[in-house]
């Protein structure tokens, strides 16, 4: 079997991009440069090592790792995202974008291919640096778990930035504007990174920060997961940007950019305000906030398309309707809803792992277990808030009959949801005070419930309340999915009837 045939099932854009990237001068030169820098850094660190100093010797592995990690961070967070940005921008500049759009590839395939190629490039950099990392592992003092988590964090953040780079390029019509947007995103993320690195260094040096190394690792892991979730959102936005104009609209793109900027800009500020107080509380707040923010930001995917009926008919008529449970994978609800559930699972799985570790009763996990056991209802509360607040408008926005202005309004509502929740809470609080009932019970207040979720939701009735809310929120989406299914069944029936009404030449009566 020839190589090209073997690559048949691989995304064509990925094949093209990797082929181009590896041949490109910029990749080759940056690859050689990175290898050279890694060699110089390793030599410098090793040559400055004082073997007579036990302290220096004990930290030699960590020191070398951090130095090399900085090199990898540069590749993952700057070189690869910039390349991804340029790759997408060049499609417009070289006038290949139109050809790509009508080539038969879906917008999602185009964005995925570009993004995956950034992942492959990143992997190549990582593989090239592996021998150097292995050298640091042979020295003293390197915590392999920490090294792994930090590398993973860099990879996830790099992939997220690459997608941001692609999004920036799709948003702008010129390379210059795309580059400026990319720089803004990089600067915002660089600000976050500087803070994270500073906190990490403080932790390693014993000056507080996260308290200890284990907590730092947990935070890094969770941030990696947050980056991972952000990918879905960014991917959806980039796809929407290059899709049909009616589907994306400039308003939506503006909201998306605004949300993105807010998320990137405000998140570190929130983190900075919370961490020094109680690191553990910060951890759980981060977890909840991540699910909340990213869950809400993911909702544009739920309203991705309203062309379900039209596309279904096309699939039915063209005979391409063969997949079982296809209704789940249709735009307009099914795919995104599944994606959303997958993301929740991605949160739930590490949570479960930590729960299991907590029950093993060792060190930090013993402390963690207390919070997790007490706070599992908080996770449900978070899900409840997200589903309740987004399910209903998303279901309405996804309706095929919904007019464009209504869809845009609902999307705007979903994207600015936290603001509306605050308004709503203010009204509710006011009503409570006016009726003399005092302040709203913190367990029923979504913001307080999320903020304090692992502490305040010990009451079973509060957990039940939020579970009910979660159910309430997901019902419209499930109803929407059921309606889709019914419509498709009706379409299938109509199509098969019209097919049977068309007499074949053999069946035609003789004149």
């Amino acid at each position: 079997m020839s190589k090209s045939v073997r690559l048949d099932r691989v995304n064509p854009v990925l094949v093209k991009e990797v082929r181009q990237a590896v041949r490109g001068k910029s990749f080759r030169s940056s690859f050689i440069m990175v290898l050279t820098i890694a060699a110089v850094v390793s030599t410098t660190v090793l040559s400055s090592l004082n073997v007579d100093d036990p302290q220096d010797l004990a930290n030699s592995g960590t020191n070398l790792f951090f130095a090399l990690h900085a090199v990898f961070l540069f590749c993952a967070l700057v070189v690869v995202p910039v390349q991804a940005n340029r790759s997408m921008a060049s499609e417009r500049d070289e006038r290949t974008f139109d050809a790509l759009i009508i080539s038969g590839l879906s917008p999602a395939q185009i964005i995925s291919g570009k993004w995956l190629s950034a992942g492959v490039t990143q992997l190549l950099f990582l593989v090239a640096l592996l021998p150097f990392f292995a050298t640091s592992a042979t020295l003293y003092g390197l915590d392999l778990l920490m090294a792994f988590v930090m590398t993973l964090f860099a990879c996830f953040l790099g992939l997220t930035l690459s997608l941001l780079g692609i999004l920036a390029a799709t948003l702008s019509k010129s390379k210059a504007v795309g580059s400026v947007l990319m720089m803004v995103f990089l600067a915002a993320c660089g600000f976050s990174m500087m803070w994270m690195i500073a906190m990490g260094q403080m932790t390693m040096s014993g000056f507080g920060g996260f308290g200890n190394t284990d907590e730092f690792l947990v935070i890094m892991g969770l941030l990696s997961a947050a980056s991972f979730f952000t990918l879905f959102w960014l991917h959806g936005l980039a796809v929407a940007t290059i899709s049909h104009q009616e589907e994306n609209g400039m308003l939506r793109v503006r909201w998306a950019v605004l949300s993105c900027a807010l998320f990137i800009g405000i998140a570190p500020l929130i983190l900075m305000s919370t961490v020094p107080v109680t690191p553990m509380r910060f951890l759980f707040q981060l977890n909840s906030m991540g699910v909340m923010v990213l869950g809400v930001l993911n909702v544009p995917l739920l309203t991705e398309s309203v062309g379900m009926r039209v596309r279904c008919r096309h699939e039915l008529e063209s005979g391409s309707w063969r997949r079982p449970f296809s209704w789940l994978f249709l735009p307009g609800g099914g795919t995104a809803y599944l994606l959303f559930l997958v993301q929740i699972l991605i949160v739930a799985i590490p949570t479960t792992i930590y729960l299991m570790l907590a029950s093993s009763g060792s060190g930090i996990y013993q402390d963690l277990s207390i919070y997790f056991e007490n706070g599992f209802g908080g996770l449900l509360a978070t899900l409840g808030v997200v589903l309740a607040c987004t399910g209903v408008p998303a279901a309405f926005a996804a309706r095929a009959a919904a007019p464009l202005w209504a869809r845009n309004s609902l999307r705007f509502f979903i994207l600015t949801l936290p603001f509306w929740i605050v308004i709503l809470l203010g009204i509710v609080e006011l009503l409570f005070q006016m009726t003399g009932a005092g302040f709203l019970d913190s367990a029923l207040n979504p913001f307080i419930a999320i903020g304090d979720n692992f502490r305040s939701l010990r009451k079973p009735e509060a957990v039940l309340f939020w579970l009910a809310l979660a159910g309430l929120g997901s019902v419209p989406m499930l109803m929407h999915a059921a309606r889709q299914r019914a419509e498709i069944k009706a379409l299938r029936r109509t199509t098969s009837e019209s097919d049977s009404n068309v007499a074949s030449p053999e069946e035609e009566p003789e004149a």
Binding site: S4, I102, L105
Partner: protein, 312 residues
């Protein structure tokens, strides 16, 4: 009657206050080549981009094989091959890799893909250049490659935007032959060009557009006969001009005779036989005709007579 491969219905496209295309309608049947002509900024490319699902109309619709490109863009893309005026190139990519990429993108797999690439490469005579990088291709080769890419998924409708621009005369002739061969295969072709002499030899019909508005559309023959109610004959005789003038004026079917320099322009209403008889009469009367030309209105004249040179 089967649906036309391309039907444009009341198409309009506005960009803010600017109307690029206004209420344009026409249709193209399988096996036909239609020219899409108009001055710069007339709205040709906008219309073509909407037909190719790259843009959306403000009002109106485009049907490809009977289905709306708005409702069924994927269906339309399977049937349309859109060739833009310039070939977008990928750096560090050979011709073979370029075609391979677009063949993969259009869903061709395995041997079928390899065969299709070989087939279009042979048709566009690119077979011997497959390993060449795209960067250094001549204009002619670029246009051939662009056409090859357009044909990869075997579209039934070809929308070609200025395919002959920048080509040398030889390349133009070759390109025209390729287009004719495609039409002979039953494909419908909508082609825009500034070089009207190119189109006049290729097209079955034309759509004339100016200032975003449809000026005329129809089969070339119909438009020619619409425009010229009478045949125009050009002739030069060595005999004394006055005698020639008088002789011509006496002939049946001759409506008007006028002199232009050494030539006589005769407005004539009659069949081809009548024209042959007129020529025979001139010879018989020893008026010594040395040049006799039956002038048919070409696309250039059609275009000039229909349009006013308005720019948007």
């Amino acid at each position: 009657m089967s649906a036309p491969l391309l039907e444009v219905r009341g198409l309009s496209r506005r960009f803010g206050d600017f109307t690029a295309v206004s209420d344009v309608s026409f249709r193209v049947e399988p096996g036909e080549i239609w020219g899409f002509i108009g001055p710069n900024g007339a709205g040709k490319t906008t219309t073509m981009r909407i037909c190719a699902t790259l843009d959306l109309p403000t009002t109106g619709d485009v049907l490809v094989d009977g289905r709306s490109v708005l409702a069924y863009p994927d269906y339309a893309r399977e049937r349309i091959g859109f060739m833009p005026d310039t070939l977008g190139t990928y750096a560090d990519t050979s011709i073979e890799e370029y075609l391979d990429f677009f063949a993969r993108a259009s869903g061709l797999r395995g041997k079928a893909r390899e065969q299709r690439i070989a087939s279009v490469a042979e048709f566009t005579e690119l077979g011997h250049l497959m390993n060449r990088m795209m960067d250094g291709l001549s204009k002619g080769m670029s246009q051939r490659l662009c056409l090859a890419k357009t044909l990869l998924h075997d579209p039934q409708l070809l929308i070609l935007d200025e395919p002959a621009s920048g080509l040398d005369p030889r390349a133009r002739v070759e390109f025209r032959e390729l287009i004719r061969a495609l039409a002979d295969q039953g494909k419908a072709v909508l082609i825009s060009s500034h070089i009207l002499s190119e189109l006049s030899e290729t097209c079955d019909g034309v759509v004339v557009i100016e200032g975003g508005r449809l000026i005329r559309e129809g089969k070339v023959k119909d438009l020619q006969s619409d425009l010229s109610q009478h045949e125009m004959l050009f002739m030069r005789c060595l005999a004394e001009p006055r005698a020639v003038h008088m002789a011509l004026a006496e002939q049946p079917h001759v409506l008007k005779v006028r002199e232009e320099a050494e030539n006589f322009v005769v407005e004539f209403e009659g069949s081809e036989d009548d024209i042959a008889n007129l020529l025979a009469e001139l010879v018989k009367r020893d008026l010594r005709p040395i040049e006799f030309r039956w002038h048919r209105i070409d696309l250039e004249e059609l275009f000039l007579s229909f349009t006013e040179g308005r720019l948007q």
